[in-house]
Structures are given as structure tokens and as C-alpha cells.
């Protein structure tokens, strides 16, 4: 993959057609997959190949495309796992877990088993768990996938709020309405490299981007100005 | 010690016994490839099959090579029933539960054999038990040679079934993509049960091939099956050629290490290979990356 250095703005969506390597990129950054070459740098240090748990301690957290709640535990206990990263005692961690549970809107479900949540609830739980680890950088992998428009509308403010806490967010997303409304700066990935970046409206009109999604010659067919 | 006159028979005998191991391993790898579980009951089923072959001879006067025709379908049905009506329902689809249930069944079968038949070792006397074939530099036991040929015949038959029959295709489909197969209308519970039945039938055939030259007691199956586990892991879980090649390799390895280290320590050799393979390359020689 081409070397890229990225000064992160607060929320940076990463879009691109399927197979572009977006989740792979996340997995490499978060230590789940080994890169075949190149390096990952964070805050001036080389963190390539560090295992996920150590990266989490550094402040890099990620959510998964297919939600993975701890099924046998309650919602509160799920968040507790994350909270314990920086809080040793049960009482301190519980306080953090409860607070974050409320912040993401799961307050009334804290005692429920995690597997009784709907998809939207589970997405919030993924967020809450990652948040509880006190991250500085949060990698959100298609956190809006599978949500209907009203659920998307409800969760976007939660994500925007994370930014206000000073967390840098890198999000893989296909849901364009969210991308457009959340971000000032978008990255487009195709076939393992960044092919475009910039303000959302500009990027989606870029013929290179259109061709990446729709195929060779599509930009010409559709005309260069695309997307209202 | 290293002279050809000693080595060659050891290697040949290793190949022959390896073929029997292959039959046991085939059943195991088939079950793993499709159900994705390690069948801990395999050893106990082998012991049970040996007892069945023993009594087929003693009570019904059936030569083991004839008894096969009776026992293979019988044990197929047993395996089918076990998976369809006990293991499947009891596990609720959870892999950890399946491990425990097959372990429980193993304990039940083995200890029932122990309770009913005690721990005494029995053997049968067939007229050809001591017949040998002259292969130039050495003599090979007829029963072992028959076993060798039969094992390959069974492997071939299995391959034919898997490749050309509808059932075989269904099994391969479920092994590759269970959900998709289900959506295409395949009855997964039935396929699982058929696979288990086939694996158990392999064990029954192996028992009939073994019994002329081996002995019977409730724990024999365990010893065999640990070797079979080693083979399956070495050859790659779910890989049929892996099981065959691995079995022959292990057969030869066991024969040679028995030659150099003696009986009981030879067994350790197998286990150590097993542990090392598991730690270093769990996907085996032919298997996909785990």
C-alpha cells in the first residue's frame, strides 16, 4: 500500500468501493493483521506490528464491522471491560462504564443482557466499549451499516459528540448522508491506495472517484458534474 | 541395526499398519472437515467395533472380512443416530459443547465395554492369521496386506461418493458453507449425521481389518485414535490426501521408532510429534491455515 501520512482532522471518513482495502487498513493499524511492508506511525512513534492490546493502551481503539458484543454479559459489564483498561478498581471502572453507557444513549439498558439489544443498540454498545478505553484515536468500521435512516439520524450526533471530547475519529463508511454531514475532509480508498481526498462535495464529483465506484468510463457517461 | 534386512521390513510393515491408521484417520478428518469438531468418541467407537467384530466371529462364526459387510452398515447407522439424535441436539450448535458431548459419549461407550466385558484382552484365531506373503527380502503378514489394499479401496470409494453422488456434493457444500447450503435447501442435520455415519463406518471397517492380527480390549481404541489424531493434525484437518499421506508417514515412523526405542517409548514418539506439530504448524502439511 502506498505510503501516506495523514494529519487527522477531527472526523475523517474513509470511503471507497468494496475490496478497496479499508477494513484491511484498519486491521493493520490496530495490530490485527501484519503489514507486508511500510510502517504505521502514531504521535511520532513507529507502532507497526504492535499487538492490539498494546495499541489500545496507547489510545488507539477500534470497533468491528460485524458487531461482537460479549454475549454472556450485561450491557454494563460489556462496557466495563473497556473501562478497566485505565481503571484498576471495580468501583472506578463501574462509574466510568455507567457514565459512558448514558452518554451513548444506553442508560436504560445497562442491566440487560447484551444479546437482547437490537442492531442499533449493539452499534452503540460497540461505541461505548471502545470509548470506555479512553482513546485518543477511534477507528470506526462501518458503524452505521445495517441501520435504518432514523437510526442513523439518531446515532450521528453521538459520533459528532465524540469529536467534541477531543477524540480523532477515522471512520469507514458507505452511508453517504452521514459522511456528508459529519466531515470536512474525506479520504477515498481504491485498490489499496488513496485516490482522492478533500471536502465531501468535491470528492464525490471527482471523476477518478466515480470511476473507482462505477467502472472505467462511467464518469464520461454520467457527465463530470455528479451528485446533488 | 541399520541394515536393509531389518529396515526394509520395518518400513514395509509401517506402511501396512499405516494404511489401517489411514482408515481411522479418514473417518476423523471427514468428520472434522464437515462438522468442524474433533470427534472425541472416535476411539471408543473403534473399541466397540473391535468387540463387535470379535463377537461376530465367536458367536456368528463370521470371518472378519465377511463381517465387514454386516458391521459397516450397522456402525454407519450407529454413527448416524448418535449425531442426529444425541450429539446434534445436545450441543445446541456450540463447538465447546460438542467437544464435551463427544467426550461424554466416549466415556460412556468405553466404560460400558469395560463394565460388561472387563479389561481382559481377547484375540481371535483365524486360519490365515499367521500366513505370510514372500516379498523377496521379507515376509509380510497376509492380513496386513489385505488391510493395506482394503484401506485404499475404501479411500477410493469415499472419494467416488464425495465427487459423484448427490449426497457427496451435499456434504462438500455443507463443509464449505453451511449457511449457504442450508439456504439452498440442504438438510444440514441430515448431512452432519451422514458424515458422522461414514466416519463411524470407516472405523468399523478398520476394526474388521485389524482384528485378525491385533487384540481387543476396551482401551485399545484410545491408543489407535490418539495416533489417528496425530495423523489428522499432521496431514491437515479435513484433508483426505493429508490423512492418507500422514498415516503412511506415521506408520513408518512408529515402526522405525519402535525398532530403535522399544515398545512403550515408541508411543511417546508419536505423541511428541503430535504436540510439536500442534504447536508449530497446526494446519498440517496439506491443511488450510487454521
Amino acid at each position: 500500500m502506498k505510503h501516506h501520512s495523514q494529519p487527522l482532522k477531527d472526523i475523517s471518513p474513509l470511503i471507497g468501493p468494496n475490496g478497496a482495502g479499508k477494513t484491511t487498513l484498519f486491521s493493520i493499524i490496530s495490530g490485527f493483521i501484519k503489514a507486508s511492508g511500510g510502517a504505521v506511525r502514531y504521535a511520532g512513534e513507529d507502532i507497526t506490528g504492535e499487538p492490539p492490546h498494546r495499541l489500545a493502551r496507547r489510545g488507539i481503539a477500534r470497533t468491528f464491522q460485524i458487531v461482537q458484543p460479549f454475549v454472556g454479559l450485561s450491557v454494563r459489564e460489556n462496557i466495563l471491560v473497556g473501562a478497566h483498561l485505565h481503571h484498576r478498581t471495580r468501583s472506578a471502572a463501574l462509574a466510568v462504564a455507567d457514565q459512558i453507557g448514558h452518554d451513548v444513549g444506553l442508560g436504560e439498558f445497562l442491566n440487560r443482557p447484551a444479546d437482547t439489544l437490537t442492531v442499533a443498540g449493539r452499534k452503540r454498545l460497540e461505541l461505548a466499549r471502545a470509548l470506555a478505553t479512553g482513546p485518543k484515536v477511534l477507528l470506526l468500521d462501518e458503524v452505521l451499516a445495517g441501520l435504518n435512516p432514523s437510526e442513523v439520524r439518531d446515532i450521528v450526533p453521538v459520533i459528532r459528540d465524540l469529536c467534541r471530547r477531543g477524540i480523532t475519529i477515522l471512520m469507514i463508511e458507505h452511508v453517504m448522508q452521514a459522511v456528508m454531514s459529519l466531515a470536512e475532509h474525506v479520504f477515498v480508498l481504491a485498490e489499496g491506495r488513496i485516490i482522492a481526498q478533500g471536502p465531501p462535495a468535491q470528492v464525490v464529483a471527482d471523476p477518478v472517484v466515480v470511476e473507482a465506484y462505477l467502472g472505467h468510463g462511467a464518469a464520461a457517461k454520467l457527465g463530470t458534474s455528479y451528485g446533488r | 541395526m541399520l541394515s536393509p534386512t531389518i529396515l526394509i521390513p520395518a518400513i514395509l510393515n509401517g506402511l501396512l499398519i499405516g494404511a489401517i491408521y489411514a482408515l481411522v484417520a479418514l473417518g476423523l478428518t471427514l468428520i472434522y472437515g464437515v462438522l468442524h469438531i474433533i470427534n472425541f468418541a472416535h476411539g471408543a467407537l473403534l473399541s466397540a467395533a473391535l468387540f463387535a467384530a470379535f463377537f461376530a466371529f465367536r458367536l456368528l462364526g463370521l470371518d472378519p472380512y465377511v463381517a465387514v459387510v454386516l458391521l459397516a452398515p450397522l456402525f454407519f447407522a450407529l454413527g448416524y443416530g448418535l449425531q442426529r439424535f444425541i450429539i446434534g441436539p445436545a450441543s445446541h450448535g456450540d463447538e465447546r459443547n460438542m467437544l464435551l458431548v463427544t467426550l461424554g459419549i466416549a466415556v460412556i461407550i468405553e466404560n460400558t465395554l469395560l463394565y460388561v466385558f472387563r479389561a481382559d484382552t481377547r484375540t481371535i484365531d483365524v486360519p490365515y492369521a499367521f500366513q505370510t506373503i514372500d516379498v523377496g527380502s521379507t515376509f509380510l503378514a497376509v492380513s496386513r496386506v489385505v488391510g493395506f489394499v482394503a484401506a485404499f479401496a475404501v479411500a477410493l470409494a469415499l472419494w467416488l461418493v464425495m465427487t459423484f453422488t448427490d449426497t457427496g456434493r451435499a456434504i462438500r457444500a455443507v463443509a464449505k458453507e453451511k449457511l449457504g447450503a442450508e439456504l439452498a435447501g440442504i438438510n444440514v442435520a441430515h448431512v452432519y449425521a451422514v458424515t458422522f455415519g461414514l466416519g463411524t463406518a470407516c472405523v468399523a471397517i478398520a476394526a474388521c481389518l485389524l482384528i485378525p492380527s491385533y487384540y481387543v480390549n476396551p482401551t485399545v481404541g484410545d491408543a489407535f485414535v490418539l495416533v489417528a489424531f496425530t495423523i489428522v493434525v499432521l496431514g491437515g484437518m479435513g484433508s483426505v490426501p493429508g490423512a492418507l499421506v500422514g498415516a503412511l508417514l506415521i506408520g513408518v515412523a512408529e515402526s522405525l521408532s519402535g525398532l530403535f526405542l522399544g515398545e512403550s517409548l515408541g508411543q511417546i514418539g508419536i505423541f511428541l510429534i503430535f504436540i510439536v506439530v500442534l504447536l508449530v504448524r497446526p494446519s498440517g502439511l496439506f491443511g488450510a491455515r487454521a
Binding site: 460479549f70 454479559l73 437490537t118 | 472425541f40 463447538e95 464435551l100 466415556v107 489424531f229
Partner: protein
């Protein structure tokens, strides 16, 4: 430490038993049941809380037994020190086994297989190695006295094993309430998710394995002192591997009292079977196998899990604040 009250209560009740029960047969039964419970408590830490199912916990039991016995018989070492050494040996073995297997990423079926193989290797070695007495086994000389950890009265043995079980109960309780405990449970539920949340999965598993091994080894050390004889089949046989996993599963995996409850139930069943059909080899294990299958089938969370579920169901049906099914689904 309010949470330790149930444990203290249970221990107090159990400790009082020898004061009212004087039958040696019953005391013997209870001693053995508690020993099995201890082995199960050990298994439960790695298997119940951690979700790593070992099929070869005999490896630790047997090592504890042999080290305790051998140190006394061959080197004249004091029984109490031998006991402690046996536990330490078990812990070291656990560390080695854990380091090897977890570093290789072995899980599920593979992990069960490797532990099974390990126990078998040890059994074979013990059956031929001179240091363990090979086929003949190791016999500890009968020499009553507190210095030799040998007692005339069963009650003394009973209290010792009860104390060990007590330690294991408190350990489980502390684990449940600690950061380590929630991390261990997270590893059981979903390793990748746990990693992403900062849990050092291999480290946690290793620590659990060491604790688990030490506790089960203690049960082995006790066996050696109580029965004064160890051989390869006793030390490393499948009988103890099976019972070490059976008792937590029946009683309730991942609970504090599960293994204890499971051991009492399992042993009672075994005794009942013997009374009904006579003492024949293999009968008790048949029953254990059947119970294992039945428990997994109908109450996979064991007796305690079943009780908890029943209680939750009752609460949900009768509680005024209980949400309706529709509400419960809203996320």
C-alpha cells in the same frame, strides 16, 4: 468484603460436619468429594471463567501427587514442604504448557487435544520411569503424625481438604470481582473484541492456567497424602481429567460454588449407583458420562446456572417494572 459472607457461611457449615458425623465411611466419601471439588475448582478457573477447555488436567493433579510422594520417599523431605513443592510444580507445569499452547494460538478443539496428549505423555513416562516407581508406583510409608501430614482421624484430613477448598472458593470470588476476572471472562466470550479493548489475551490466559494448575495440583498432593499410594494410572489417568471438568460443568461453569456443588452431586450419584448395582469397574464413569451429556443437553449452565435462570424468569414474570417483550427489544 460483604461478598465473602456466603462463602464463609458455606465453609462454616461444612466445617461443622465432622462434629456431628462420625461414620468413617461418610467422612471418607466427603473427603474424596471435596478433593474432586478442589480439582474442579482449579479447572473452573481456566475452563469456566476463561473458556479454555482442558481435557488433560490430570497432568497437574498427577504432578502434584508424584512430587509430593517422591520428595518424601526418595529424598526424605518433610511432608508439608513436599505438599507445597507439589503445588509449585503444578504451577510451573501450567506456566510451561500455557506458554507453549497459547503462544501458538491454540484454542478450542486443538487446545483440548493438546492437553489430552500432554497428560497421556506424562502417564506413559510415569509408567516406565524409575523415578516414579514405573509400573509399581510410589508408596508413602505409613507414619502417623502431624509432621508427616498423616492422621489417624479422617476428620483431620477433612478439615485440611476443606481449608484448601475454602482457599479456592475465596480465590474464585476474588477473581470474579477483580479486573483480571472481567478480562478473563471477556477472553472467554470473544478474544478479538477483548484484544481491541486492551486485554492482553495471552497473558490473561497464562495467568489463569497457572492458577488453575496450582489448585488442581493441590488436589493431587492431597491424594498422595490421603491414600499414600500413587501410580501412573492414578496420577495421570483420564478418570481425574474427566472429573475435573465434569464437576464444574454439572455444578455451573464460571461460578464460585459450581465445582463444589457438582462434586457433591457427582459423587453422590456414583455412590448411589454402586449401592444399586454393586461395585464394578467403569460403572461410575458410565454415569458420569451420561450426566455430562444430559447436563450439556438440558442445562448447559449447570445446576447453578439453571437455578439463576429460573430465578430470573420468575422475577421477570412477577416484577412490576419488568419491561414487556416489545420494550425489551428497543435499542
Amino acid at each position: 468484603m460483604k461478598a465473602l459472607i456466603p462463602t464463609a457461611a458455606v465453609l462454616a457449615v461444612l466445617a461443622a460436619v465432622p462434629l456431628v458425623v462420625h461414620s468413617n465411611v461418610t467422612l471418607n466419601f466427603l473427603v474424596v468429594a471435596l478433593m474432586i471439588a478442589l480439582a474442579g475448582q482449579g479447572w473452573n478457573i481456566l475452563g469456566g471463567y476463561g473458556g479454555q477447555y482442558s481435557f488433560g488436567h490430570a497432568a497437574f493433579f498427577g504432578t502434584g501427587a508424584y512430587v509430593t510422594a517422591s520428595l518424601q520417599v526418595r529424598y526424605g523431605i518433610n511432608a508439608w514442604i513436599g505438599f507445597a513443592a507439589g503445588i509449585a510444580a503444578g504451577a510451573v507445569l501450567g506456566a510451561v504448557l500455557g506458554a507453549l499452547t497459547f503462544r501458538s494460538g491454540l484454542r478450542g478443539s486443538y487446545f483440548a487435544l493438546v492437553t489430552l496428549a500432554f497428560a497421556e505423555v506424562l502417564r506413559i513416562i510415569a509408567s516406565v520411569a524409575p523415578i516414579t516407581g514405573a509400573g509399581v508406583g510410589t508408596l508413602i510409608k505409613l507414619d502417623l503424625g502431624i509432621r508427616n501430614l498423616q492422621f489417624q482421624s479422617r476428620a483431620a484430613f477433612y478439615w485440611i481438604i476443606l481449608a484448601l477448598v475454602g482457599v479456592s472458593l475465596v480465590t474464585a470470588q476474588l477473581i470474579e470481582r477483580s479486573r483480571f476476572g472481567i478480562w478473563l471472562i471477556a477472553v472467554r466470550e470473544n478474544e478479538d473484541a477483548a484484544k481491541a479493548l486492551g486485554v492482553n489475551v495471552n497473558g490473561v490466559k497464562l495467568a489463569a492456567m497457572v492458577m488453575s494448575a496450582a489448585i488442581t495440583a493441590a488436589a493431587g498432593c492431597f491424594y498422595a497424602q490421603y491414600f499414600l499410594f500413587v501410580d501412573s494410572g492414578i496420577a495421570y489417568g483420564t478418570w481425574i481429567s474427566i472429573q475435573a471438568l465434569l464437576t464444574p460443568i454439572i455444578g455451573g461453569v464460571g461460578t464460585v460454588f459450581g465445582p463444589l456443588l457438582g462434586a457433591l452431586v457427582v459423587k453422590s450419584l456414583g455412590e448411589a449407583a454402586k449401592l444399586l448395582t454393586g461395585d464394578a469397574p467403569g460403572l461410575d464413569l458410565i454415569i458420569y458420562g451420561a450426566v455430562l451429556v444430559l447436563v450439556i443437553w438440558f442445562t448447559p449452565r449447570g445446576l447453578i446456572g439453571g437455578l439463576t435462570q429460573a430465578r430470573k424468569l420468575l422475577m421477570r414474570r412477577s416484577g412490576p417494572a419488568a419491561p414487556s417483550a416489545g420494550e425489551a427489544r428497543h435499542g
